[in-house]
């Protein structure tokens, strides 16, 4: 099997790497704060955090142009923020405030910011793979050079929509990148126990005539380079790619899940591969000053503090929102 190993990051410029560092720190601090806000009951409902998986969101977003499109899952905070969506409306959306990204009408699992190319977070497994195909088809038809990037988990590779979308994207040669975040656990079940192949996405690639691509999802540099290749292939008319990034979520599946089904030694092994300290060390070794990284950490901390307060201060949604925007005319009337 041909797999792409993490390449040496020699071709990456320092500015790009510092930006990816900042993105990862921001995602980690945002998600950590989001968890605290649950415990404080500011955030109701459910939420699915990306702690441990930040390198993927940071690396892929770095490889995209502002006009490209992201399609995310219910574990979508990181992918939304990585495209440049400010923290305040995302925190506010989690808290159900009117200054939320969707004024509180979507919630944690449906973050969308069209102006940032975040074309939705989808909470039914697999649904957004065909939808990303449609956006890619639109770009192809209209002759723009936009690319759709579609993130999903390992569990998605066992649902029908995954296979329909892969076949469809290949036969129409669509500019779409399918990006599997394999965090080893399909909700509370080990993915390998319910999947016919070892690498749930990569081992299926050959069924659609695609190259089998595996990348270390905890290495932002490696992610960035694989993403650049796939995005530019799609942009150049080379059709879709399917990429499997190996990673690990540090917490449970969702807010309600402490993740205790996972062996301690497995968690310990993956904590050794935590993308943030790894990347920080790499930058220090590359000659970046500790003070510079500490300044980034501190600026993110201040950003999170400010955004938290702004979100908390946001107004409660008014009743006028309830019957708004079912239809394109802005209303909800189904009869005259």
């Amino acid at each position: 099997m041909a797999t792409k190993e993490a390449k040496a990051p020699a071709t990456l410029d320092l500015e790009t790497r510092l930006h990816m560092y900042r993105t990862q720190v921001a995602l980690r601090q945002f998600e950590t704060r989001a968890y605290d806000l649950f415990l404080e009951n500011y955030v109701k409902g459910t939420s699915h955090l990306s702690i441990g998986q930040e390198a993927i969101a940071a690396g892929v977003a770095e490889a995209m142009r502002p006009t490209d499109w992201t399609f995310a899952t219910y574990r979508g905070h990181a992918h939304t923020l990585a495209r440049g969506v400010p923290m305040t409306p995302v925190f506010a959306e989690l808290m159900g405030r009117a200054n939320g990204l969707m004024a509180g009408k979507g919630g944690s699992m449906h973050l969308t910011s069209v102006e940032h190319g975040v074309m939705g977070s989808y909470a039914i497994i697999g649904a957004h793979l065909p939808i990303a195909c449609g956006a890619a088809w639109s770009a192809q038809y209209r002759g723009t050079d936009q690319v759709a990037v579609c993130f999903f988990g390992d569990g998605t590779t066992n649902i029908g929509a995954f296979h329909e979308a892969l076949n469809f994207a290949v036969i129409w040669s669509l500019p779409v990148v399918f990006w599997c975040e394999n965090n080893l656990w399909m909700e509370y079940t080990r993915t390998s126990e319910v999947t016919a192949v070892v690498n749930p996405a990569a081992d299926r690639a050959s069924a659609y005539g695609l190259e089998s691509i595996i990348v270390d999802g905890n290495d932002a540099d490696a992610v960035y380079q694989v993403a650049c290749d796939a995005v530019e292939l799609a942009r150049a008319g080379g059709g879709p790619s399917l990429i499997e990034a190996k990673t690990y979520r540090h917490g449970g599946h969702s807010r309600a899940d402490p993740g205790k089904y996972r062996p301690d030694e497995e968690i310990a092994e993956w904590m050794q591969r935590d993308p943030l300290p790894l990347y920080r060390t790499r930058l220090l070794e590359a000659g970046v000053a500790e003070e510079e990284l500490a300044a980034i950490d501190e600026s993110v901390r201040l950003e999170v503090e400010l955004a938290t307060e702004e979100a908390k201060a946001g107004p409660i949604p008014g009743e006028d929102l309830l019957l708004k925007d079912v239809w394109a005319d802005g209303g909800a009337a189904w009869r005259n």
């Binding site: 065909p130 939808i131 394109a328 005259n336």
Partner: protein, 325 residues
């Protein structure tokens, strides 16, 4: 002015809109080279080419997902789901994704798309290729639902559906594909959410949809010969629902009969009965009566299928009995 079949009217309506607007594209199984399994898209590939008229694999989720993704990024796709029963394999895309995403995103996304589908019975195809599913679509917030009953309405409502900025489920009555009528030349654009009074009477109002409309009209003629003069209303669009026309016509006669091809439970007539009971109770001279397919999967044998779907005879008998009781 030309004689046009219901099936020819589909291609006519789509072609009219594709000529006008290059963002209108079409996709589905066998819609291109084959011209559609019901021959509803004959000639479109030849006129508009395979970039705009695209054959797809048997992948209903991919078809509707692609339509959704295209609609939210600037196109106006017309997707075909060959038989309406097949909505069951892509209902997530319809009911969870297309229908909800405008609301969930606080209006950030729009879905100007049309999903066409051959709906209902009459062709002896059996239970998995014959069900009338208009009530499935009607009960989902965020979907518009259109069911034309003749070739002229097919053209005009197709145009209105394509031009609408919301997702429209466009259900074609399979039993009417071969029916013909005179359709004027030139551009035809109708209005969604407008019912049509197709016969004026004084004793009772029969409200029908799709394939039930010509049956209700014929039943009304037979009832008239027996001294019961009926108004017949063609609903045409379940969402938006033209309650103003329906309430006005029921008020005028004091009686409401619905004729529905969908199975009994939660059929569209139930909602209509509820509206009339709430808003017109004191104008009614007798009970509201629903004439529907029984709550069964549709049988294949011609005799059994004919017994299941409301027939002219059943409409006549039911109205006659109720009016004389």
């Amino acid at each position: 002015m030309a004689q046009l079949t219901y099936r020819e009217a589909i291609a006519r309506g789509i072609a009219q809109e594709m000529r006008r607007d290059p963002s209108v594209v079409m996709l589905g199984e066998d819609v291109g080279a084959a011209g559609g399994v019901f021959k509803g898209t004959v000639g479109l590939l030849e006129e508009f080419g395979d970039v705009r008229v695209r054959d797809t694999p048997i992948s209903e989720q991919a078809i509707l997902g692609a339509a959704m993704g295209a609609a939210m990024t600037g196109l106006r796709p017309i997707a075909e789901i060959m038989f309406a029963d097949f909505f069951a394999v892509c209902w997530d895309i319809v009911a969870n994704e297309i229908a909800k995403s405008r609301y969930m995103t606080n209006g950030q996304l729009s879905f100007p798309l049309v999903i066409r589908s051959g709906n209902g019975g009459g062709l002896r195809f059996g239970a998995q290729h014959s069900q009338a599913v208009e009530n499935w679509a009607m009960m989902i917030p965020g979907l518009k639902v259109v069911v034309p009953a003749n070739a002229l309405d097919v053209v005009g409502l197709m145009a209105a559906s394509v031009r609408d900025n919301d997702p429209v489920i466009f259900l074609e009555a399979k039993g009417l594909y071969a029916t013909k009528m005179e359709v004027p030349d030139g551009e035809i654009v109708d209005t969604l959410g407008s019912a049509k009074v197709v016969r004026k009477g004084t004793n009772a109002t029969i409200v029908a949809l799709g394939m039930m409309v010509p049956r209700a009209l014929q039943a009304a003629e037979e009832l008239a010969a027996n001294g019961i003069d009926c108004t017949v209303v063609d609903v045409r669009s379940l969402v938006p629902l033209d309650t103003a026309t329906i309430l006005s016509e029921v008020s005028a006669t004091g009686r409401l009969f619905t004729v529905e091809e969908n199975p009994r439970l939660c059929g569209w007539g139930g909602e209509l009965a509820s509206i009339v009971a709430e808003e017109l109770f004191y104008d009614l001279d007798g009970p509201i009566v629903r004439i529907t397919t029984p709550h069964i999967p549709l049988p294949a044998a011609d005799v059994l299928e004919d017994l299941a779907i409301p027939s002219v005879e059943r409409i006549v008998t039911t109205v006659h009995k109720s009016m004389n009781s």
